[in-house]
Subunit: 378 residues, 2 copies
């Protein structure tokens, strides 16, 4: 995407900005970001690192993640009001799982979203609420064990009506953390996904949300605001289902490109030693930072993180309406790059302190410092 659309004219447009001292640091940051992203940089060290990464992972291009993160993170401004820095909702949390939706939702707040909701089952709600008073937790989902067959249509309708009351207020949904695989619950979530799509709300899909979507690709196919964040096993199932072959690590970026194209218009963030990101048009990788610790829950932080940055990227691009170079950049790709970079930085910081003992909560506690290190608030 970055390298396809009218790059020469974009570069010409931006080239002169590079040596120009701008009054607004925000504008300067954005210009610098674009110059780098679109290929107009001459930083030799950076170039070398990019070439090395390219050699390591085929022709995938290491994203200039920190500059992208800086470019899309909104300036803080006392005249703004509650909600303007993002309203995120997590759909997940059932009798079995309560940690995952909490991790995703609290991560969104710690990165700087103003409001973070969780829609989960009644059993999960009181537990998730008790983890933190900062979250707004809606106990509205139902699992089969608590619903009679004849009541299913009416309960499904109620669940959907409850989510619909809020839908248009959300800047992004995260669907899947701690969702479980109860058939009735997944049927309800299937409808929620359809409504989110009708309302043009971006959706980050992880965990059991990917189980649902792999089974019903039509839910996301052709929806450019859908982001899938599979881990190694979830990616394997997607590849087998869509491309009808095995995962090929020697040609990882081409296969990812084909997968995203095969599903149709969605963006995929393939988690791994390097995170690989594609929307079917281009492939980017994020290899900076990271930690060797693989405790469960890190994927939930990532999904919340991508949701916030994707919202910010859309906000940023919409504010820059009419500015051609910016408006051509896919916000889902930007959100994935920034979300991945921040998560990897926080994981690395937590690991420095806690080593083998690092838990997901330790990483969440490092999100603020990591963001501040990359993109100081003031």
């Amino acid at each position: 995407m970055f390298v396809k659309h009218g790059m020469n004219s974009q570069f010409a447009l931006l080239g002169s900005a590079k040596h120009c001292m701008l009054a607004s640091s925000a504008v300067l940051r954005r210009q610098q970001f674009l110059i780098r992203t679109l290929g107009g940089y001459s930083d030799q060290t950076h170039l070398k690192r990019m070439q090395q990464t390219k050699a390591m992972s085929g022709t995938a291009l290491e994203a200039d993640a920190e500059n992208i993160l800086r470019a899309i993170t909104p300036n803080l401004d006392s005249s703004k009001h509650k909600g303007q820095a993002g309203k995120i909702a997590v759909i997940g949390g059932c009798r079995e799982y309560t940690g995952a939706p909490y991790f995703a939702a609290i991560s969104a707040l710690k990165i700087g979203a103003d409001l973070s909701h969780v829609f989960c089952t009644k059993d999960a709600a009181s537990v998730i609420k008790s983890y933190s008073p900062e979250l707004i937790v809606h106990p509205i989902l139902e699992e089969s064990y608590s619903v009679r067959d004849e009541d299913k249509p009416s309960i499904s309708g109620k669940v959907l009506a409850e989510v619909d009351k809020w839908m248009e207020r959300f800047d992004c949904l995260v669907v899947g953390p701690g969702l479980g695989r109860d058939p009735f619950l997944l049927d309800c979530v299937r409808e929620i996904l359809k409504h989110a799509r009708q309302s043009n709300v971006p959706i980050v899909i992880d965990g059991d949300g990917l189980f649902l979507v792999t089974d019903s690709l039509g839910l996301v196919s052709g929806y450019p605001l859908a982001v899938l964040t599979p881990n190694i096993n979830e990616y394997k199932r997607l590849v087998e289902k869509v491309l009808n072959c095995k995962v090929d690590d020697h040609d990882a970026h081409e296969q990812l490109l084909s997968l995203a194209k095969g599903i149709g218009s969605v963006t995929i963030l393939r988690k791994g030693k390097s995170d690989l990101i594609s929307d079917g048009e281009t492939v980017k990788s994020v290899s900076i930072y990271g930690s060797p610790r693989r405790c469960g829950g890190q994927g939930d932080i990532l999904s919340g993180s991508v949701a916030v940055f994707l919202s910010w990227a859309r906000q940023h691009l919409s504010a820059a309406e009419g500015d051609l170079p910016i408006s051509k950049i896919n916000p889902t790709i930007l959100g994935c790059i920034a979300g991945s970079a921040l998560m990897r930085k926080a994981a690395s910081l937590a690991f420095q302190n806690k080593k083998r003992s690092t838990l997901t909560s330790d990483i969440i506690e490092c999100l603020g410092q990591s963001l501040e290190d990359i993109c100081p608030a003031i």
Copy 2:
């Protein structure tokens, strides 16, 4: 209010106190506060700042917030007993919301109230209790889903009887944080408001309490101990309902004055970049400190904070009975100014440490230090 009633005689009364070394520092603090507040100060720097603020915000006058806070905060004294520093009750907390009433109630304690109660639904109670053992949580409110129509009158009666048992012990109610909008629950709260008013208990109204009151202005109209604390959207609804026009930011203080006068005798704290406060007689602004972070929950801290300072202001004025200048000052205005200043200071302190990652709980943790910085305990 400050500048209207017999100012010359007040000033004459207090003028000599300014250069006099008083044995009691509390008395000295109060005198200094009054001298400043009533216009009898000659501090040029202060005067300049006031003029600048006046120029920025029309004719609204920046309050001398820190001196007001110092003047009304009671001295700590080992001979006092539990309850004398304030007993606050929050009416709020339902199936959906538990964080908001917790934030309001715990903030009251952290500022220095002795006891903090929460009246909420059964669903909310166990969660709010789990946030903190410091709060007294009454699981007495009911939502429509758990009540049959034929039982509503008797249940409503029981709810009211439970609150009435406590009503006269409270120095201030906070009505609204996490109340939700269930019709039956709001009907009960409507009655609670009437009883509080009959008992002459001050009421701070925020969140969904404002939704209720905007719909039934008679609940607060003509009640001088009612304080409304609307955010941008809640203020918009009030202006449209009462003044039948749009919010006019160019003449913000005049419109606020008209709104408070239009509702009748209530005090309004309009939250924003600067907080604007009016009782229909005068307008004050609080612009000191503050933070650009707009995470949800800060309004709940403010409502708890105003409740405590309003109680203290009343206590202070009642102790000074017969002292004409003091008794002419509206305690609701004093409570709003001090509550706003402390909240803004705590938010600023939390932001210094946590930057974009600042959450409402972080701000609450800074209330104590902020109060100590402005008004040392000993």
